[in-house]
């Protein structure tokens, strides 16, 4: 291929890159401007004066609460999902029993179902046990709905663990609990971190469960919070921009530091075809 050919290839890749990244850059730019500058100036100009006060204003206006709710709900759900998924995958892959294939199949069917079909019964179930407007409802729902995909990613790893490791542990007199908590859980740390990243992205960005089960501002997470917030700040673009940037920042920071893990996690979550 000639020089011109390569030039055209780079040009097209560059075009796609600009398309992908520019809206995010534009968002960041207007989050630092005030309305006068947004409405009068060019949308692509750098802010004449950087207005961090947009961020301070929305943080103190309530985004702070949503932010911490997102952090702890995401974190606690990840811990439960990883623990329960590991326990289930351990007994499914490493022990011999009759119904293991059937049980595994049941979990994997969970990958296919549209969550919206379960929404009304979930709502009425939570209503009847007084869990509506209770963050516990969100934590257990996130845990349940992330179990199938987490188990699927863990399966591949557990199948490759050599038998010798377990046999050695059993000969040394270790109990099954010890084998799981002291040996298998630690050696699965790399794949656990991949599933943790995937869970983090799902939980942090989830919208419909919180929107349906939580009504009080005290327990709302960022996705639902920003949606209400934006309505309230209707014409204040700077505030809206700052709100959106705050909501996406943790994920983007995680991506910058763990980009290879994110890429690995997203690729392995896709092969559920």
């Amino acid at each position: 291929m000639g020089r011109i050919g390569y030039f055209l290839l780079y040009l097209s890749l560059g075009f796609v890159a600009v398309f992908q990244i520019f809206p995010i850059v534009w968002l960041f730019l207007f989050s630092l401007k005030d309305n006068r500058e947004i409405f009068a100036g060019s949308p692509f100009a750098l802010p004449s004066e950087i207005r961090w006060e947009n961020y301070l204003r929305v943080w103190e206006g309530g985004i702070g609460t949503y932010f911490w709710n997102s952090i702890w709900i995401t974190g606690v759900s990840i811990l439960f999902t990883l623990l329960f998924a590991s326990m289930a995958v351990f007994v499914i892959t490493r022990m011999k029993w009759k119904l293991s294939k059937l049980v595994l199949g049941l979990f994997m069917v969970g990958l296919m179902i549209p969550i919206h079909s379960a929404l009304i019964p979930l709502f009425s179930m939570f209503l009847s046990v007084n869990l509506i407007n209770n963050p516990l409802a969100i934590v257990i729902t996130y845990t349940a709905y992330n179990l199938p995909i987490t188990m699927m990613i863990l399966l591949g790893f557990y199948y490759t663990i050599p038998r010798e490791i377990e046999e050695a542990a059993i000969i040394d007199g270790a109990s099954l609990h010890r084998l799981f908590f002291r040996i298998l859980l630690p050696i699965s740390a790399p794949v656990l971190s991949t599933t943790a990243i995937i869970n983090m992205i799902y939980n942090w960005n989830e919208f419909v469960f919180v929107n349906t089960f939580i009504s009080s501002d005290r327990y709302k997470t960022l996705t639902v919070g920003i949606n209400n917030f934006v309505g309230q700040y209707m014409t204040d673009w700077g505030a809206i921009g700052a709100t959106l940037v705050i909501s996406v920042l943790p994920i983007i920071i995680a991506f910058i530091f763990f980009s290879n893990k994110v890429v690995e996690g997203i690729s392995s979550s896709a092969v559920k075809g």
Binding site: L13, A88, V91, P114, S117, I120, P121, L122, G273
Partner: protein
């Protein structure tokens, strides 16, 4: 402790959660569909009335049609993603960084994406109309308020959101093709296009089929982005199955009828999944 108890103990948390919060609600959706129910008061059994009404509900079929249209767009856009991946996988410097840039939108919440694109489409200060003005476009359409184009306007952010995801998958598959096959084809005098179309594409066909399933089934479940961007409007022009169900139940307290629509969504998704799996099933897996 016997192994039996150990297995039960370790399986129970996951099994209970998935059973109670995923499988039981799916069955209940079908059951609630047989009721007249406002969500709070007593249920009244009305047989198949709701399901018969769904079948004759023009609004439902319109929403299903929109979901289907999005599925078609998503499937067609796979060709673009595939072309980009082919270029990216052909000894390009910086392909690693580019792939990560492409992936960025995929990490944002659909709500943030929807809010951002509402601003991009804004008639007076949006990014899109400013760019179009440079090219001399005087009267750009009302992107989200025009019922004839709203579905296309919604599809652009979907394309934007998922591009990196599919490119990532295709790139990984293409990188798995042994270099020797490509070299052999080059020695035989094959052009880059012939190599892409006749050699690389057939070799990654298995992955392409998986992505077709993902794109179609994913489209049938779209909700967040549309709910936030247009709420299904204007006048139902961007309503999809999930948003229609949501509106019926949580908007108008029509929980019985909403459940029937939710159950139809489940059935349609399962049927479509089975059909495309059958259609795309490998008759003979290519080996290399």
């Amino acid at each position: 402790m016997s192994n039996k108890w150990f297995i039960t103990l370790y399986l129970l948390p996951a099994l209970l959660l998935v059973g109670i919060l995923i499988f039981i609600p799916l069955v209940l959706t079908g059951y609630y569909g047989l009721m007249r129910w406002d969500g709070i008061g007593a249920m009244e059994f009305i047989g198949l009335t709701n399901y018969i009404n769904v079948m004759q509900d023009g609004m439902f079929w319109q929403s299903a049609g929109h979901s289907g249209l999005l599925a078609v767009f998503s499937t067609l856009s796979l060709a673009i993603y595939l072309a980009v991946s082919m270029i990216l996988a052909s000894k390009i410097k910086g392909s690693d960084l580019l792939r990560k840039i492409y992936l960025l939108p995929m990490l944002l919440s659909s709500v943030a994406i929807a809010q951002l694109w509402i601003k991009i489409y804004n008639p007076s200060n949006g990014m899109l109309n400013e760019i179009l003005a440079w090219f001399g476009v005087q009267n750009p359409p009302l992107w989200l308020a025009d019922p004839n184009i709203v579905l296309y306007s919604i599809f652009i952010p979907i394309l934007w959101q998922y591009a990196g995801f599919y490119i990532l998958i295709y790139y990984a598959a293409l990188k798995n093709i042994p270099e020797s096959i490509i070299e052999a084809a080059k020695i035989d005098g094959a052009s880059p296009f012939q190599i892409a179309y006749r050699i690389k594409l057939p070799l990654i066909m298995g992955v392409v089929k998986v992505t077709i399933v993902l794109a179609i089934v994913g489209s049938l479940k779209y909700f967040d982005l549309i709910y936030v961007m247009t709420g299904g409007g204007p006048n139902g022009a961007s309503e999809v199955m999930a948003s229609y169900m949501y509106k019926l139940a949580f908007g108008t307290n029509n929980f019985g009828y909403g459940s029937a629509v939710g159950f139809m969504l489940l059935i349609i998704t399962l049927i479509v999944t089975v059909i495309i799996r059958k259609v795309t099933a490998d008759k003979e897996e290519l080996q290399y």
